[in-house]
């Protein structure tokens, strides 16, 4: 049965909230403003943290895809779907913050910066993951197909990044903000926000997996309910 006692979650949520408070403090008060770009550079901390969460999610999706294909255990499929969903949400945030950060610095909403392009293509791949998930009825077939999609998507990342970098090598190489060496307080701010987002990722993944498992349980119960009355009736006659 699904453990519906929620005791671990509040503890996790409070600890994540604390980490977030520390991160906000570190980013806004502890870390100095960056000389060249000024305040706007502070977007970078959470921008990179979102990217970390997205990367963690897609790695989990790939690993659970391989695990499903090997073990054929549907719990891996549930974990994979939860991970991809979180990954998609945070990739959207990465793109949003990337553009909002790029606009003032390079006065263009979108630059074909290799990392941003990779995030964009990743966004399409894992959006396609959900389109595929909606197109297949049988659970085991859907799980196998989605596992392959998650693996293919993850395997594609290095190639996308490599080709985006090669693609750009024609354009003049723009000085990249994070290339600037980080003053120690900046580094601590970055590390704290990375930790906060990693904790957040843990909470979201746990919750999403429980929700998907609950939905599956409901489907099974409904299925049994549809059959139950028929058998009950026959037994009586």
């Amino acid at each position: 049965m699904i453990p519906r006692t929620r005791n671990p979650e509040p503890v996790l949520i409070t600890c994540t909230a604390l980490l977030f408070a520390a991160a906000v403090y570190a980013v806004f008060f502890h870390a100095p403003a960056e000389r060249v770009m000024g305040l706007v550079q502070k977007i970078f901390y959470f921008h990179l943290s979102c990217a970390l969460v997205a990367f963690l999610s897609f790695t989990t999706a790939c690993i659970s895809g391989v695990a499903y294909l090997v073990s054929r255990d549907l719990k891996w499929d549930v974990l994979g779907a939860a991970a991809v969903e979180i990954g998609l949400v945070f990739t959207t945030l990465v793109l949003a913050t990337g553009m909002l950060w790029g606009r003032p610095v390079w006065n263009a909403w979108w630059t074909w910066d290799p990392r941003l392009t990779t995030s964009l293509i990743l966004w399409f791949i894992f959006a396609a993951y959900f389109i595929l998930r909606a197109a297949v009825e049988k659970r085991q077939q859907r799980a196998a197909y989605c596992a392959v999609m998650a693996i293919a998507g993850f395997v594609d990342v290095p190639i996308v990044f490599l080709s985006a970098r090669l693609w750009r090598s024609i354009h003049p190489v723009v000085i990249r903000a994070d290339g600037v060496n980080m003053a120690p307080p900046m580094l601590t701010a970055l590390l704290v926000s990375l930790a906060a987002f990693a904790a957040l990722w843990g909470v979201l993944l746990r919750r999403r997996v429980r929700i998907l498992a609950m939905a599956e349980q409901i489907r099974i119960l409904e299925h049994r309910l549809d059959r139950e009355p028929a058998q009950a009736r026959r037994a009586r006659y």
Partner: protein, 50 residues
């Protein structure tokens, strides 16, 4: 400086994203939990009724 506008916009975007997602999943979880309890109760009633 207009660049602080973008800083604020970016942070709003992140908070909106995170809290929005937490809110949606939280409400979704409650709805499913209620539905699960209702179903289990109906199952136990039909099994008892048999």
């Amino acid at each position: 400086m207009n660049s602080t506008f973008f800083l604020i916009a970016a942070y709003l975007a992140i908070w909106a994203g995170i809290f929005g997602y937490l809110l949606v999943t939280g409400r979704h979880q409650q709805r499913l939990a209620r539905r699960l309890e209702m179903l289990e109760e109906r199952i136990s009633r039909t099994e008892a009724g048999q």
